[in-house]
Amino acid sequence: MHESTPPPRRALRERAATGVVAGLASGVVVGAVMAFQDMVVGAPAWFGYVIYAVVLGALLGVTTGSGRSRSPIAETACGGVLLGCVGWLLYSLTLVPLLAGTAPTWSAASAVASYPQLVGDLLQGGLAGALLAVLLSLRADRTAGAGSPSRPLVRIVIIGGGFGGVSAAKTFERLAVRGAPVDVTLISDSNYLLFTPMLAEVASGALEARHISAPVRASASHTRFRHGRVDQVDPMARTVRLAGEAGTISYDHLVLAVGSVPHTFGLPGVEQHAWTLKNLSDATRLRDHVIGLLERAEQERDPAERRRILTFVVAGAGFAGTETIAELYDLVFGVIRFYPAIGSEDARFVLVHPGDRILPELGPDLGVYALERLEARGIEFRGGARVAEATADRVRLDDGDSIPTTTFVWTAGNRPAPLAAGLSGTGRQLPTDAQLRVTDLDGVWAIGDCARIPDPSRDGEHYPPTAQHAIREGKVVAANIVTSIAGREPGAFRFRAIGVLVALGHRTAAGEVRGIRFSGLAAWFLWRGVYLAKLPGVEKRIRVLFDWLLDLAFPRDIVVTTDAKAPVHDDVVVGSDR
């Protein structure tokens, strides 16, 4: 940090001590004048006055100066006069009557009676302020002459601008306000925090893409931000190297919050032909692709080909897959009125899942309920099946069945981002201890989807990779790093998930909060209320709320702005999606 940092506790104590000296010295001078007027008579009165002078001096030292080592005399003298006046109101007009056993009246008559004390307090405060400035200046000269180094800051580097990384950065900021000696840099390859629970609604055109994301620079506005991609971490040299010519950054503590990337298990054709839904680009391109297909289908004379064009296959019936197919359904049938040559029977939606029910994260009842709601709309569920291969015009399942389609969305697997996978040496999540320290890597901490964090309350189990957990892990890792800097033992991460909610398309949702189950319209309202409240920043909440309100009054937009005919794949790294 370039500005003089706020007084840490030690510096504040030193300023308070200097203030006490200034307060006592001025108290002696002004007290002597007061004694001449019989305003301070006897040991108890002197004792009370000395206490007052000490407290005023200490407060003056702590509350003035804006963290600067020097302050202009006029400025601190004015501060002293101001505190002297407040002290007169509090001490002479309030405490003195109370100590004498009478209720304070704060009347003009009582003020007139204690006017001499006011003059004394003003002069004492002003003199104390002037002396404080002189003493601070002398001390600053002495420390500058002695070549006293400025307070060393511990360099923290956070990689990843998802829920975990931004949460950690914000917590570091709060701790720095309280005097934690940290200099934090956050590196992310996207300059925004993506609110992934609403990504499917962007894919369906219900929400504007930018409305569900917040700039990292605004979310963690006092953290140094580097927009770039880290391509190498050297735990021995304690450096990270940025891709391209962006250079290396040294660290004392490294927080890895790099998230996960889609994992296709090497299935033939899946990586080339499957759409994923991990970032804003994925969502907007998928939405444009679907609108483009509707345009194509409208001109297609062959009914079989039209049906192939409008067949949407989603692999994976977890939260992401279920919400995606429900939103795609809403998008297609929400805008189909613009396409008079397309009948409702032309569109087909297939959800493929290896289990026998969808949403395994929910209880069996809610899973069954969600499946019923989807099937009632005509969405097909292929339970107990896995995708075996994907081509440009079809998806083949492991039971031998083949589904002609031009839209295949893959949500059936994630793996840690390559940076974390490379560091772990196994290609899997980075194993950490309960304090979030990466095993065998000194000074490296990991949180979020890329970390395998033990759950102390469930022996042998690990915390799930959800946004709820990532946010809490970010807070704990920041606190733990600051604790370890202070030489104390960091605490274990403990968190019990509050609940889960899944949107099932138009006015329907399901979920469980603290053991209480919700479904249907009530759950849908709950889903929208909860996630609206959790959006980062009031501005985004208002924008999303307006999007939803406009969606009630107007049809969805069918403007296509990109030429999205095929999925694009890169190793874009994101955080947790729930």
Partner: protein, 476 residues
């Protein structure tokens, strides 16, 4: 000896010389007033003589010395009229406490008397010290011209804006029932104050809150100049600086305070709107959009306002003022009054957040702004709106000032709590000192200097006006 040390020595020598010369000008102004009041022999008594000539010579020597000290004290600040005026006024006020009330009796070998009765007799000396401070400040700026002086001639548009603001505010105040000032003279006063405002306070646009605090003190200065000085001079050829004369026009002081504050606020708002409508260079628009951090600031304003309101409640309960507050909403009883009081406290807290957001840089500056704002609300709320809204009669005479002194204490306590808590809350989410580059650090430093340049002087003048004037004017 390093170059910096040599430069500092030259700088300080020039400041002392300029200050000393400015002290001559201030001393002449103050000395002339002392000659009118016949108080020069009092100064001469330090040398055990009662000669007015000796008194004047001694007075001029002292004036030069403390003028030089003024130059040394303020040389690190930006030397511009808008700031120096307040530093000069507060310097004069402090010397009133330090000089005639403390050092003079000691040098005369007499006992020090800090009683209110004695201070009342020294009221002409207080006004003289204020004139001395203002003159020293003005001449010091002139003598430093070309050196560390900064400032620019205001545009004609700004002067017109000031004239509109001053006249409109004066006209608005005449609508207040029982307003004691004649219409045409008052409108002319508003016009002059409005025209002078941009001429004195030239420079970059500033936030509304600091402008309001400064305008309040500007109103006080206008009261001293117009009511205590110019009008008696024109009318009788004398100065109306005595306690009796000042008490006779004390009822107009709240009007001047409101006029000064309102002129500053309207002038600032007009500037904001005009820049928002007609300025095509966004670099010159420094106001952060309200939606950026406004909602959270508003919530903090509510919280800080309630904390300040709770401090105020102690005073209100003990003096039994809550039933009167209840009458604002047509209710009665202590509990209704308490609810109304806390709601008002929260609402004023919100306005504080809107006006003073990001204007505090330590707890003391929070207290400074808070106390200034609390005093303003004593004048506007307690002395003006409360009697009007609760069906009472508006009266600003000395008896009312005395009767409302407990409320003044409550308002100052409210401001202290409000400002301190708001700063504490704001610093938690907007730690201004945490910067990430040299450019950002220098930007923050510039903003701090811009906001706080003369702010400590404004705070001190506000509390001195708030606390001492009601005591001195209502009589010991």
């Amino acid at each position: 000896m390093s170059t910096a040390t040599v430069t500092d020595a030259i700088l300080h020598r020039r400041a002392a010389i300029s200050g000393g010369l400015a002290g001559v000008a201030g001393g002449v102004v103050f000395g002339a007033a002392m000659a009118v009041f016949g108080t020069l022999p009092t100064i001469a008594s330090i040398l055990r003589t009662d000669s007015a000539v000796v008194g004047f010579i001694l007075h001029m020597l002292i004036a030069v010395l403390i003028g030089a000290a003024f130059g040394l004290l303020v040389i690190r600040f930006r030397i511009r009229v808008r700031d120096m005026l307040f530093w000069g006024l507060v310097y004069g006020a402090v010397w009133w406490f330090l000089g005639p009330q403390t050092l003079l009796p000691l040098l005369q070998g007499m006992p020090v008397d800090w009683s209110a009765a004695h201070a009342e007799t020294l009221l002409p000396s207080l006004v003289g010290h204020l004139f001395y401070g203002a003159t020293v400040a003005g001449v010091f700026v002139l003598l430093q011209r070309g050196g560390r002086t900064t400032g620019r001639v205001p545009a004609v548009g700004a002067v017109v804006r000031g004239a509109v603001a001053g006249t409109a505010c004066a006209a608005l105040l005449t609508r207040v029932p029982n307003f004691q000032v004649g219409s045409w003279a008052w409108l002319l006063t508003g016009l002059v104050l409005g025209v002078l405002y941009p001429l004195i306070f030239t420079g970059r646009p500033e936030p509304t809150g600091p402008a309001l605090a400064r305008g309040t003190v500007y109103g006080f200065a206008a009261w001293v100049v117009v009511e205590l000085t110019l009008q008696p001079l024109v009318r009788d050829g004398s100065l109306g600086w005595s306690r009796t004369d000042a008490a006779a026009v004390a009822g107009r002081l709240p009007g001047y305070l409101l006029l000064g504050a309102a002129t500053a606020v309207v002038f600032t708002w007009l500037g904001l709107w005009l820049r928002g409508l007609f300025l095509d260079d966004v670099r010159k628009i420094e106001v952060e959009p309200p939606g950026a951090r406004g909602p959270r600031a508003t919530a903090y304003g509510v919280l800080a306002g309630i904390v300040g309101g709770l401090l105020f409640t102690v005073v209100m309960v003990l003096v039994g003022a809550l039933p009167m507050v209840a009458r604002i909403v047509g209710g009665q009883g202590t509990s209704v009054g308490l609810v109304v009081h806390l709601v008002i406290s929260a609402l004023i807290g919100v306005t504080y957040a809107v006006l003073f957001r990001r204007q505090s840089f330590d707890v003391l500056s929070g207290i400074g702004w808070g106390v200034s704002y609390g005093f303003f609300w004593w004048v506007l709320g307690d002395l003006t709106l409360l009697p009007l809204l609760s069906g009472g009669t508006l009266s600003w005479d000395t008896a009312t000032l005395a009767a409302q002194f407990p409320s003044l204490v409550g308002h100052l306590a409210y401001g202290t709590g409000l400002g301190a808590v708001y700063y504490w809350l704001e610093a938690g989410i907007d730690p201004w000192w945490m910067t990430r580059s040299g450019i950002e650090a220098s930007r923050v430093t510039a903003r701090r200097e811009q906001v706080l340049s003369a702010a400590p002087a404004v705070w001190v003048l506000t509390v001195l006006v708030a606390v001492t004037l009601p005591i001195l004017l209502t009589g010991a």
